[in-house]
C-alpha cells in the first residue's frame, strides 16, 4: 500500500519537477533556496557499512560535513548503513527530509542512489567513489592508484625482507585500484620485491583482519598496506605487537594510531571533496556531473611522515617527491586494473 501511494506521488512530483527544472535551466540554473542568506544549510550523508568510527573512509566524509557545519553553520545528519539493504531506505528517509544536499558515501550504493534520485528529481545528491549519470547527482571519484603507487614505491624502498603486502576489504574494482597502484609502485622501485595480496571479504570483520595480517607478516612481509575499513583496525593491532613490522594506512591520516610504525597513510581527501560540494551548495550552485581527483588535484596523497621521517630517510622522501612530480606531469600513469598492471613497465626516472 505504502509503495503504491509513494509511486503515485513521485510520478506527479516528477512531472511537476521536470517543469520546474526546465524553467530553472532557462533561468541560468541553480538558484536554489540555499542561495538566500537566511536559509540554514542542511546537509546529510549515508555511510557505507563500515560506518562511523572506521577511522578511515566514512569518518573522512563525516569530517567534511563537520567542516561545513563550523564554516557555514550547517545542520548535518548521518544515516548509518548496517547492511546493503539499508542503502535505499536511508537515502529515501533523507530525500523525504528537507536537505539541500545528500551525500552517498561509497560505490556500493550507486544503484540504489539511481533509484532514489529518479524518485526525487527535485532533490540534490552527491556520490563518492562512483559515477552516477542522473542529472541531480554529482559524482566524485579518486585516482587511488596514483597515491597507492607512491605507497608501493615507499614500501619497496623501505622493506628489508623484499616482501610487502596488500590487505584489502572486499575484492572489487575500487579496491583493485589501490592494489594494482601499490604493486606498480613497488615494481617501479624494485621488480624483485614480492607483493602478497589478501582480501578480508568484509570491511568490519576485525578479527579476520588481524588473522590475515598474522598470515602476511608471519609469511615474511614486513610492510602491509591496509585498505580494509574497520577490518584494518585488527590488522593494525597485529602489526603493533610484532617487532620489525610496519603498515601503511589508508583514506584518513592513520599515522598517529601507532606512531612510528605506520610509515604513512594514503589519504583520500573525501573530506575535502564533501566540503567543496557543500561550499558550492552554500553558494547556491548545485554541482552535477563527475570529477576525478588524483595527485594533481590533491584528491589523494601521502601524509607528511610525521613520525617516520628518520626511519624512511631524506633520500627516499626526495625520491617519492620526484615520483609524485612524474605522475602529476603524466610521465608515469599508474595502472588501475589488473590487466593494466600486467602491462605496466617501470619508467625508471
Amino acid at each position: 500500500m505504502a509503495r503504491a501511494y509513494h509511486t503515485g506521488v513521485t510520478t506527479r512530483a516528477l512531472a511537476l519537477a521536470s517543469v520546474v527544472f526546465l524553467a530553472a535551466c532557462t533561468n541560468g540554473g541553480g538558484t536554489g533556496k540555499a542561495a538566500s542568506g537566511a536559509h540554514q544549510l542542511r546537509l546529510a550523508m549515508v555511510t557505507d557499512t563500515g560506518g562511523l568510527g572506521d577511522k578511515s573512509f566514512n569518518d573522512s566524509a563525516y569530517r567534511g560535513l563537520q567542516m561545513a557545519k563550523s564554516k557555514f553553520d550547517a545542520e548535518i545528519a548521518v544515516q548509518e548503513s548496517k547492511s546493503a539493504a539499508d542503502y535505499q531506505p536511508n537515502l529515501t528517509v533523507l530525500a523525504d527530509g528537507d536537505y539541500d544536499e545528500i551525500f552517498a558515501i561509497g560505490f556500493l550504493m550507486n544503484n540504489d542512489l539511481t533509484e532514489v534520485a529518479k524518485n526525487y528529481p527535485d532533490k540534490h545528491f552527491a556520490i563518492i567513489d562512483a559515477v552516477n549519470p542522473q542529472p541531480n547527482v554529482a559524482s566524485v571519484t579518486f585516482r587511488e592508484q596514483d597515491g597507492s603507487f607512491l605507497a608501493g614505491a615507499l614500501a619497496a624502498m623501505v622493506t628489508k625482507t623484499k616482501t610487502i603486502g596488500f590487505l584489502g576489504g572486499i575484492d572489487s574494482p575500487l579496491l583493485r585500484k589501490f592494489e594494482v597502484g601499490y604493486a606498480a609502485g613497488a615494481r617501479e622501485i624494485d621488480p624483485n620485491v614480492k607483493v602478497v595480496v589478501k582480501y578480508v571479504g568484509s570491511f568490519e570483520d576485525v578479527a579476520s583482519g588481524k588473522e590475515l595480517a598474522d598470515v602476511m607478516y608471519g609469511g615474511g612481509a614486513d610492510i602491509v598496506y591496509i585498505a580494509a575499513g574497520k577490518s584494518g583496525l585488527g590488522a593494525i593491532d597485529e602489526m603493533r605487537a610484532r617487532p620489525n613490522a610496519y603498515a601503511i594506512g589508508v583514506d584518513s591520516n592513520q599515522d598517529a594510531l601507532v606512531p612510528g610504525k605506520i610509515l604513512t597513510s594514503m589519504v583520500k581527501h573525501v573530506d575535502v571533496a564533501v566540503f567543496k560540494i557543500a561550499s558550492e551548495v552554500h553558494a547556491g550552485k548545485y554541482p552535477s556531473g563527475s570529477v576525478q581527483l588524483g595527485l594533481k588535484e590533491d584528491g589523494v596523497g601521502l601524509t607528511d611522515f610525521a613520525y617516520t621521517k628518520a626511519l624512511i630517510g631524506a633520500a627516499h622522501i626526495a625520491r617519492l617527491a620526484a615520483l609524485r612530480e612524474a605522475i602529476v606531469a603524466g610521465k608515469i600513469v599508474p595502472p588501475s586494473t589488473r590487466d593494466e598492471l600486467a602491462a605496466f613497465t617501470p619508467v625508471k626516472l
Binding site: L52, K55, E204, V206, A207, K210, L212, D214, K230
Partner: protein, 284 residues
C-alpha cells in the same frame, strides 16, 4: 612443518568463537529452543566484555560480564518462548537486531565516538590460548553431561517430548529457560574471545555472521556437542584455508559459502541422516 603448525593454530583461533556459539546452540536446541540469537549473544558478549574491561581495567571481570550479558539476551528468548508463547524465530531475529542496535548505541553513549571502543585491557595471548582450551574441554564435558547425567537426560527429553517431562513431575519451561541462560553465557564467552582474547577492542559488526555459521555447525554436527564442535573446527579450518589459499584459483566467496552448503547437505541427507530434536522450535 612450521607452516603447518601455523595453519593449525590459525584454524583453532578461527574455530574457537564458532565452537562456543555452536555449543550454545546445541544446549538450547536440545532443550527445544531454536536459538537463532547466537549472533546477538556473541555481539553483546563481545561488547560487554570490552566495556567492562575498559571501566574496571580488569579483563577477567569483562569476561564474566560478557557471559552474563549473553545469558541475559538468550534468557530473554527462553522466557519469551516459554512464558509468552512467542515464535522462537521471530523472537530470535528481534534479539539479534536489539543486540546490534543496543551495542552500537552504547558505544556512542559510553565512548563518545561511534563504531568502536578504544583499546581496553585484554586477556593477552595466554588468555587467548586458555580460552581455546576451554572451548575444547567444554565440548567434551557437555557431551559427557548430555550422555551420563540426569541433567543431560532431562534437557534432551525436553527437546524431544516436553509432555513426558511434565508428566515426570518436572517443569519443561523452567528447564528451557535454564538452557537458554547456560547457552547464552557460552555464546557470550565466544564474544569475549573475539573482543578480549584475540583483540583488545569491540567494534560494531565484528561478529560478522559467526553466530549463523555456528547454527550451520549445529546441524552439520547433528545436534551433539562433540559433533557441533567438530563441525565448527572444520569450518574454522576452512576459513583458515581460504585465508592461505586466496587468489590461487578457488573463489573465496565459494569457500565462505561452504559451511552453509555443508549444513544443507546434512539436512537433505546427502551425507547421512540429520534429525533435529522433535520439539525443537516448538513453543510451549
Amino acid at each position: 612443518m612450521a607452516e603447518l603448525l601455523d595453519f593449525f593454530q590459525l584454524a583453532l583461533v578461527k574455530a574457537t568463537p564458532l565452537i562456543f556459539a555452536a555449543l550454545a546452540g546445541v544446549i538450547c536446541e536440545r532443550s527445544g529452543i531454536l536459538n537463532i540469537a547466537l549472533e546477538g549473544g556473541l555481539t553483546v558478549g563481545a561488547f560487554t566484555g570490552a566495556a567492562v574491561s575498559f571501566e574496571t581495567g580488569n579483563p577477567l571481570l569483562g569476561l564474566i560480564a560478557g557471559m552474563l550479558a549473553g545469558a541475559l539476551l538468550c534468557g530473554l528468548l527462553g522466557v519469551a518462548a516459554t512464558r509468552f508463547g512467542v515464535d522462537q524465530i521471530v523472537a530470535g531475529i528481534g534479539l539479534n537486531m536489539l543486540a546490534a542496535g543496543a551495542t552500537a548505541f552504547a558505544v556512542v553513549v559510553l565512548f563518545g565516538a561511534p563504531g568502536a571502543t578504544p583499546e581496553v585491557h585484554a586477556l593477552g595471548s595466554a588468555g587467548e590460548t586458555a580460552l581455546i582450551a576451554v572451548a575444547v574441554v567444554a565440548a567434551l564435558a557437555l557431551q559427557l553431561g548430555f550422555d551420563r547425567t540426569p541433567w543431560g537426560l532431562r534437557l534432551r527429553a525436553c527437546g524431544e517430548n516436553p509432555q513426558a517431562v511434565l508428566s515426570a513431575g518436572l517443569d519443561p519451561r523452567r528447564i528451557r529457560v535454564l538452557a537458554t541462560l547456560a547457552g547464552g553465557a557460552i555464546a557470550g564467552l565466544g564474544g569475549v574471545f573475539l573482543s578480549l582474547g584475540e583483540l583488545d577492542l569491540y567494534s560494531d559488526g565484528m561478529t560478522a555472521g559467526r553466530g549463523f555459521i555456528a547454527l550451520a555447525a549445529v546441524i552439520f554436527g547433528r545436534w551433539t556437542p562433540l559433533g557441533a564442535a567438530g563441525a565448527a573446527l572444520a569450518f574454522g579450518a576452512l576459513s583458515a584455508l581460504q585465508f592461505v589459499l586466496q587468489r590461487s584459483g578457488v573463489p573465496s566467496e565459494l569457500m565462505q559459502a561452504l559451511p552453509y552448503l555443508a549444513a544443507l547437505a546434512a539436512l537433505t541427507g546427502i551425507v547421512g541422516k540429520a534429525r533435529a530434536p522433535a520439539a525443537d522450535g516448538v513453543s510451549l
